[in-house]
Symmetry: C2
Subunit: 338 residues, 2 copies
């Protein structure tokens, strides 16, 4: 019987159980009671010695959030904070725009706040060994890895989903519903980041189904914003009326796509199916409800922190972990009727 | 010529200008160039001595976020972080559920992290002097004040909008469009917090227009979540079909109201107008676009931090500041057609 068993039994995170056991005030009464009941029912005995080995509270872990306006990061930041606190460290956060340099921000934070380690939340997949040389503390890439870079796998940790494989899955799902002319709306297809990987997955899925790639069905937002996505969707719908589905590489960009379709009188899903990526809560309340791949945001944050702390505390080497998404079927995808 | 003039000229915050002038990496190239051009054009000379008086970087300011899942807080946290960093302090954040006790969380954070001051982001309006006695450092209430409590005005700072007056404004706007039977959907009308004040404002606006209060037009979500708002809206629409407008006390709750109306075939705005509160970016992309009162979120965060730092640094006494919202007309309110 471990703390993980209690957490699984209650459907909460390990850090939540830890906070209840350590009498942290920031847990709701409902969750607190649920955890305490489970502890009794399961006869769980906390490992007191491990608890007593609490870290010095001045041990800081930096979290650099690139693209803080991304609603997908809200739950993730929360789970990262919980995990850092539960382990007895202090989280120092730095939120930077999505076009800023996270390595520079991380190096600067590391110098000014004397960090033990760094979590990069959102970032590029193309770090080179010389670029990360300025970061002289352990770091973990959360939601991304080093696909386009040259880092040694024992020099960094990462926790993310396989963006290319998951994009294949999204587009394959559309193809299974009979779609053949499928558009993609994304930030930037050559960003050496999440956009590029999801774009490559889109191409892979078309190829495996024997569908020719059509450059006119690719639309980029340029910057990452709802406004840019709305304008991009309008361009795409104005240019082409022969596609029956569109893969939008983030839920927060898919909301404006639904809006643009509505404003142009293009019915979703009857005239155009839409599939998203991320699984934001708000996509449960869009009109229509969005079909999307749900990222395990709580788990991503928890694993990122745990992986980093294992390195900091000398318990394990750097690791690259890959988690899975879950397809959530909404109202925005239908079987093709043409 | 002050740093504020440069900020206003560029349409950015004071802390952004400060970050550019101090060569922080976490500013986008676009904003950096805009600020540097403005500095040249306006012949602004930074006050070097003030800059050199930078604080010890170990000076921590705590930020307790109550209801971290509230999307309205995302921009606010960002502006609070910018302002704290720009002043040379370190932000230590603690995110707690909306039903947890922020004072207890603040006291605990203050003890463990040796804070200079505390920002409470989201909280109750009913603190008593004995309750806050455990907080022995200066604090500022951000987005709320002490309407239902008994604090001396020189014992705390607050920066918020006047929730009651702004709610009057929202409902008055509906009345001006000819609506007489106006429902309200909110979290809790007796929460001694933002829900209660906006409810009282709703009642005030009806009264001044000579409209009788109708208890059957009030629907509470109980907990603060999109899911609860969706269920509450369904209950309201099922119970009554004679109201022509609904005031929803938060944009994030208004999205599910639009969804519920859609699912029940109640057309917005033709059969029911909807007005929100907060001014989230996503309410620009709902179907239909939401009419709402936009809170000055960047300014709220900046002022909260500045007010707190003035107290910490002995430059000013505690203050209670009130900012204004801006009505943003969307597609969700129409002139009543009955």
């Amino acid at each position: 019987m471990t703390i993980r068993d209690v957490a699984d039994y209650c459907g909460v995170s390990v850090s939540t159980v830890s906070r209840v056991l350590n009498n942290h005030p920031d847990v709701s009464a409902k969750v607190r009671n649920k955890v305490l009941s489970a502890v009794r029912e399961l006869h769980y005995v906390p490992n007191i010695s491990a608890q007593d080995l609490g870290r010095n509270s001045s041990d800081n872990i930096g979290v650099v959030v690139r693209g803080a306006e991304n609603p997908f990061f809200v739950n993730l930041i929360h789970s990262i904070e919980e995990a850092i606190e539960a382990a007895g460290y202090t989280m120092i956060i730095s939120q930077i725009p999505s076009d800023a340099d996270e390595l520079e921000a991380g190096a600067s934070l590391s110098r000014s706040k004397r960090l033990k380690g760094l979590v990069f939340l959102g970032g590029c997949f193309n770090y080179t060994a010389s670029e990360v040389a300025a970061i002289d503390i352990p770091f973990v890439c959360c939601t991304f890895t080093n696909e386009f870079g040259d880092l040694d796998s024992d020099s960094y940790s990462s926790v993310c989903v396989d963006d290319r494989a998951e994009a294949i899955r999204a587009v394959r799902y559309l193809i299974e519903q009979g779609h053949r002319r499928i558009a993609i709306l994304l930030n930037d297809r050559e960003d050496e980041s999440v956009g590029q990987l999801r774009f490559l997955g889109y191409c892979d899925a078309l190829k495996e189904a024997g569908i020719d790639y059509d450059d006119g069905l690719v639309e980029e937002t340029g910057v990452y914003s709802m406004e840019a996505a709305y304008r991009a969707a309008k361009r795409l719908f104005a240019r082409r009326d022969d596609f029956t589905a569109v893969f939008v590489t983030a839920d927060s960009l898919a909301m404006p796509v639904l809006k643009a379709a509505n404003d142009l009188g293009r019915k979703v899903p009857d005239e155009c199916s839409v599939i998203g990526f991320d699984g934001l809560t708000m996509s449960l309340y869009s009109i229509p409800t969005l079909t999307t791949l749900v990222q395990p945001s709580e788990k991503l944050g928890e694993e990122a922190v745990q992986t980093l702390l294992n390195v900091i505390e000398g318990k394990a080497k750097h690791q690259q972990k890959v988690l899975k998404t879950t397809l959530r079927k909404g109202e925005s995808v239908t079987v093709v009727s043409i």
